[in-house]
């Protein structure tokens, strides 16, 4: 079966402490319980979570939605965005099946990245690595005013910003992510086509502003 890989790349640096990190945890739970109700997503979507603070680590490897378990996450340390991007590149290499004559590979991964600050490591190196990989849609989310949207714009064209990193706003963002994953899996299962761009995603809620 061809899976639709979805990577959530989440900032867990010290500045996310308190409400933001709790909101992210809740957000992921909302995302999971919503997607589990969607027959398309339940059968194709595979989820992975990569968190980054002083360094990046993949806390959940690419896992079938029905088996997915969200571990506890803590906010601490700095913002190693570059490390997160190179780890993501490595994981795409090892977890996503490529199409050959013998095997129909997986669909191109969807990536949702969320950060509330500016990278503290040499992030360009990680970006170069990441850009060598074939991915589908990449959405970067600047959570609050402290995030550097200029950096995010270099990672992907699709950058959204949350005015504040409070729980209702973050929840709204994750709801939109889950609707986007639903759309993505429905498109491939019903028509065999992948999501091409932001215009094909459900419209973001008012809390989520598109950065032009």
């Amino acid at each position: 079966m061809r899976k639709l890989p979805v990577y959530l790349v989440l900032d867990t640096s010290g500045s996310m402490t308190g409400e933001p990190i709790e909101a992210v945890k809740n957000g992921v739970q909302v995302l999971l319980s919503t997607l589990r109700q969607d027959p398309y997503a339940l059968e194709t979507a595979f989820l992975s979570v990569i968190t980054f603070s002083s360094s990046a680590s993949q806390i959940v490897p690419l896992t079938e939605l029905s088996m997915f378990q969200m571990p506890d996450i803590q906010a601490t340390g700095t913002t190693a965005l570059g490390d997160a991007l190179s780890l993501l590149a490595n994981k795409i290499d090892s977890e996503v099946t490529k199409t050959t004559t013998e095997v129909k590979g997986d669909w191109k991964p969807l990536v949702f990245l969320m950060t509330d600050g500016s990278p503290t490591d040499s992030w360009q190196k990680g970006l170069t690595e990441f850009q060598k990989r074939k991915v589908g849609l990449v959405v970067a989310c600047a959570a609050g005013q402290g995030a550097d949207t200029k950096v995010l714009k270099q990672i992907t064209e699709i950058v959204v910003q949350l005015d504040t990193a409070d729980s209702s706003t973050i929840k709204a963002f994750f709801k939109w992510v889950s609707a986007s994953v639903s759309t993505g899996s429905q498109k491939i299962e019903a028509g065999g086509v992948e999501v091409g761009g932001l215009s094909e995603l459900p419209p973001p809620p008012p809390e989520v502003n598109i950065v032009v």
Binding site: T17, S33, P39, S66, T99, K104
Partner: protein, 515 residues
């Protein structure tokens, strides 16, 4: 000292109790985690302190230490130490993240949860919230088990007590964790009939059985009568789950025909493109037109065509081969041309672009001769078509090449201008003469994708063996198609077989079999 004064003393600019409370509410978990970490750091540094108390002996020791250290009265010392230990253990239990594996509705669940081993020092563990979702805790095997009945994120409460603590019996302490039960994906798929007033309405399922009765032949100068069984045709077409979920029509189609007079069989299967608006009509026009034209052309050309086949059987020469190719072109090629013309006409009537009627096409015409079966074929698009013999000598011939792109949905369609060119049509014709076969099968990709997975697998006879076994009842639903001669029930059986469950494969499914 009031706690608010204490906050002020450590330098926090709190205004009043309400303000301070807001702060605490917001950072409650962080504060707890921080205090917990600091507590852990603090403990090992304490002389004569045991970092972790996890059995009664150690607790007794600890109490003794406390007594020695503080010189307090026995009871007082014991109580204080116990209290401190209980608080500490409780914090430990509270902070440990519990993960139990996810369940699935109507599927047996069993998860080893040895709470007493996971949380040293606790006992009398009971769980609340399991029964209501169809589960229970087996204290002997220490497993949460049963068959979940309800999907959702279920809150389960674990109640427990600490060993050797009078005050914590009965089990008054609790820890909450989440047990996720996934819904049965089948239950999430809706099955909404296509509205009857839909343009180009087509039933959501279809089936056909063409019974070709045994023929009585006279042998030995007409003295002995012999009954010879003849192959029948069966086909079924089922709307895909993704279409059923959204109340959309079936895009696949098929048509079978047997000519009593000439004994030619014609089978056609077509798959309308998912992305094309009226592909359901495209596939229907293709099937009906191809059968009509083949019928007429076979009637017109059968004498010369059958002679060519007999000649070719005697002498397999390039010249003889070409003659058959030319005749096939006149029959099936003409049929394909006409199908495109009819589709074009319909598109002009709307008017709309012809690609909105995009469809694949798989055609086979065949007849039994004294020396064996002649099978001619034409194929555009994905899906599969092959002659299969199960018995020794095993045999498999794929009658063309699937036009599968690197990604699904990149296939070719009959309605593409580059397909309906004479050389391209000729290139797609195939024929074969075989002594006998188990089945000649035509399938759309709704069947080949789940059953063969890749185009390369279509050439592997093991996969055809598996498919034939599957059709004969070797599947998880125990649905068997009875392929005995003249079995009219086989159409219903085949239609039911098409309901097989395959994760991620929800396309329309159509299969036609000559057996």
């Amino acid at each position: 000292m009031e706690w608010i004064d204490w906050l002020k003393e450590i330098g926090l600019p709190v205004e009043d109790a309400k303000h301070a409370q807001t702060f605490i509410n917001q950072y409650e978990d962080t504060i707890k985690t921080f205090v917990h970490e600091k507590w852990n750091e603090y403990l090992p540094n304490q002389e004569n302190e045991l970092p972790l108390i996890n059995d009664s002996e150690q607790i007794e020791n600890r109490i003794e230490l406390d007594e020695m250290k503080f010189g307090e009265s026995t009871n007082q010392g014991k109580e204080n130490a116990e209290k401190r230990e209980t608080d500490f253990l409780q914090l430990q239990v509270k902070n440990k993240h519990v993960t139990v594996s996810n369940g699935k509705v109507k599927q047996k669940y069993c998860f080893l949860f040895d709470a007493e081993a996971d949380f040293p020092g606790i006992e009398n563990v009971i769980f609340e919230g399991l029964e209501t979702i169809g589960l229970q805790y087996n204290t002997e095997t220490k497993t949460i088990e049963g068959t979940p009945t309800q999907a959702g994120d279920h809150k389960i409460i674990m109640r427990y007590g600490f060993k050797n603590r009078e005050e914590s019996r009965p089990t008054s302490l609790e820890k909450e964790f989440t047990l996720i039960v996934n819904p049965d994906p089948r239950s999430l798929w809706k099955n909404t009939p296509t509205p009857l007033d839909e343009e180009y309405y087509k039933p959501d399922e279809d089936k056909a059985f063409v019974k070709v009765e045994s023929k009585t032949t006279r042998k030995l100068l007409g003295l002995k009568q012999e009954k010879e069984a003849r192959k029948d045709m069966v086909a079924a077409s089922q709307r895909g789950r993704s279409h059923a979920h959204e109340s959309k029509a079936r895009d696949d189609d098929f048509k079978l025909y047997f000519d009593d007079a000439s004994e030619w069989y014609v089978m056609v299967v077509a798959d309308g493109a998912g992305s094309a608006k009226y592909s359901r009509e495209g596939s229907r026009i293709a099937c009906t037109t191809v059968v009509e034209v083949c019928k007429a052309k076979i009637f017109e050309l059968k004498d010369i065509f059958e002679t060519q086949i007999t000649e070719f059987h005697k002498t397999d020469s390039n010249e003889n081969r070409k003659k058959i190719g030319d005749s096939l072109y006149s029959i099936i090629g003409t049929a394909a041309f006409k199908a495109v013309k009819n589709i074009e006409q319909e598109a002009q009537k709307k008017p709309i672009l012809m690609k909105e009627f995009s469809t694949t096409l798989l055609v086979s015409i065949c007849k039994k001769f004294e020396f064996g079966w002649f099978v001619g074929a034409f194929w555009v698009g994905d899906g599969g078509m092959g002659i299969y013999r199960k018995e020794e000598p095993e045999y498999l011939k794929i009658l063309g090449e699937p036009d599968g792109g690197e990604f699904a949905g990149q296939t070719r369609f009959l309605t593409m201008p580059e397909i309906i060119q004479p050389t391209e049509i000729y290139r797609r014709l195939r024929f074969d003469i075989v002594s006998d076969f188990t089945a000649l099968i035509l399938m759309t990709d709704g069947v080949t994708d789940p059953k063969f997975e890749t185009d390369a697998n279509l050439n592997r006879i093991e996969k055809w063996h598996a498919l034939w076994d599957d059709l004969n009842g070797n599947n998880e639903d125990n649905v068997k198609v009875d392929f005995s001669d003249d079995n009219e029930q086989s159409a219903d059986q085949l239609l039911e077989w098409l309901n097989f469950w395959s994760k991620g494969n929800h396309d329309d499914r159509t299969i036609a079999i000559l057996f």
